[in-house]
């Protein structure tokens, strides 16, 4: 009988340990962990909803600015998204309401980022050697004095 009690005590301690581990584990391991692999599946939905999309795309801009988007679509800048030169749509419109005026960048550097002649650009891409472009140099002038950014052909 004494031996049986010893065995029982050992079993009891083991049982308590197992129950304890199961309890602690159930609290520590997130509910969706391991459903599809060794990660927390709930995070997939969290990532999908991490923030509302900021960039809307040219089609979204055209919903309000149809005339403008048509003019751009007819010119050589048709493949340039509005948000490249302006700003992401989300800074201008939120939930269908205009929250801030759209930024308009008229700077020389905006055009130069794509069209200044530098090493690296494909040779077929239209590039400008600044020193040879206009008489008197480009110092202090902006491209938009002569070019229409939405259809920049001269």
């Amino acid at each position: 009988m004494e031996h049986a009690r010893h065995v029982f005590r050992v079993l009891f301690v083991l049982l308590v340990a197992v129950v304890g581990i199961v309890l602690v584990r159930s609290f520590l391991v997130p509910a969706s962990y391991g459903l599809y692999g060794p990660y927390r599946f709930d995070n997939v939905a969290e990532q999908a909803a991490i923030r509302p999309p900021l960039h809307g795309g040219a089609v979204a801009c055209g919903e309000c600015h149809e005339d403008r988007s048509k003019a751009v679509a007819a010119g050589v800048h048709r493949s340039v998204s509005c948000e490249v030169c302006h700003a992401p749509l989300g800074r201008h419109v939120k939930g269908g309401d205009v929250v801030a005026p759209m930024a308009v960048d008229r700077s020389f550097t905006l055009c130069a980022r794509c069209h200044r002649k530098i090493d690296g650009r494909p040779t077929a891409f239209p590039q400008v050697v600044l020193e040879q472009h206009v008489q008197g140099g480009l110092e202090g002038r902006v491209c938009l004095e002569c070019h229409d950014p939405h259809s920049p052909k001269l």
Binding site: F8, V22, L23, V29, S32, Y39, E46, V84, D119
Partner: protein
């Protein structure tokens, strides 16, 4: 008699402990088993994303880098995507990426007569057999069924193993959250049927995002008909970013 009483008492207390433990354990698993992808009307089994970068078209404007920064609130000085410029001759080479190409590229003096030069946009390759997931000790890095490698910011302990493991340098530890961050292919956009921000703003169609489970997909067509390359194929990471016109100098 005394022995019997004490064992009965023990038995009852054990039964209660075990029973409550089992209830907690089972409730945890049964809760999880019935769930579906919570993103509304989105079935991640119906997509498998892939990305194509045509380096022959890139003009180095950096619009993608700026768009990524704005879209994903990437901290200053860190990049989820960036653009590198390669200026090469037979003997010499020069590679630069001033501020990741965020403000475009200035003219440069290579110090030698270059015979070819080009831009290479870079980002997470969303590898199928990716080392970054293998080294994560807490199960924070994982690959979704639709083929996107993501980091669970709640699980990540910021050990930086994955940053070290990535052969493409695509990950960083955020100075804000102190957890690993990386390109998500704009998972918050693509699950809504939109393109990643970098693809959305690319003016020369250098960057293309597609779905291999769509038959008429332009990226799928390129992978089926063109000769595409991946970066560092000898590592067998099976990148899902495919390059057109990739030079041997690009790593």
């Amino acid at each position: 008699m005394d022995d019997n009483r004490s064992t009965r008492r023990d038995f009852l207390s054990n039964a209660i402990t075990l029973g409550s433990g089992a209830v907690v354990f089972l409730s945890g698993t049964s809760l999880a088993a019935g769930e579906e992808h919570p993103a509304e009307r989105y079935d991640w089994e119906a997509h498998r994303y892939a990305y194509v970068i045509d380096t022959t078209k890139c003009i180095g404007c950096g619009s993608c880098v700026r768009a990524c920064r704005a879209e994903n609130e990437v901290p200053d000085g860190y990049f989820r995507t960036w653009v590198e410029r390669y200026v090469l001759s037979a003997e010499s080479s020069h590679v630069d990426s001033p501020n990741g190409g965020l403000d475009g590229f200035p003219p440069m003096q290579a110090g030698f007569a270059p015979t070819k030069s080009f831009f290479v946009p870079k980002m997470c390759n969303h590898c199928k057999e990716t080392p970054c997931i293998q080294v994560c000790p807490v199960g924070a890095s994982y690959r979704t069924r639709d083929g996107v490698v993501l980091v669970d910011g709640q699980r990540c302990i910021g050990c930086g193993y994955c940053v070290q493991a990535c052969p493409y340098g695509s990950r960083f530890l955020s100075p804000k959250t102190h957890t690993a961050e990386k390109c998500t292919w704009c998972y918050h956009r693509v699950t809504k049927g939109m393109k990643p921000a970098c693809v959305e703003v690319c003016p020369t169609a250098t960057r293309l995002f597609g779905d291999m489970k769509r038959e008429d997909d332009p990226v799928r067509r390129i992978l089926e008909h063109e000769r595409v390359a991946v970066m560092q194929p000898h590592l067998l990471t099976e990148p899902q970013c495919f390059y057109l016109g990739l030079d041997k100098e690009v790593r």
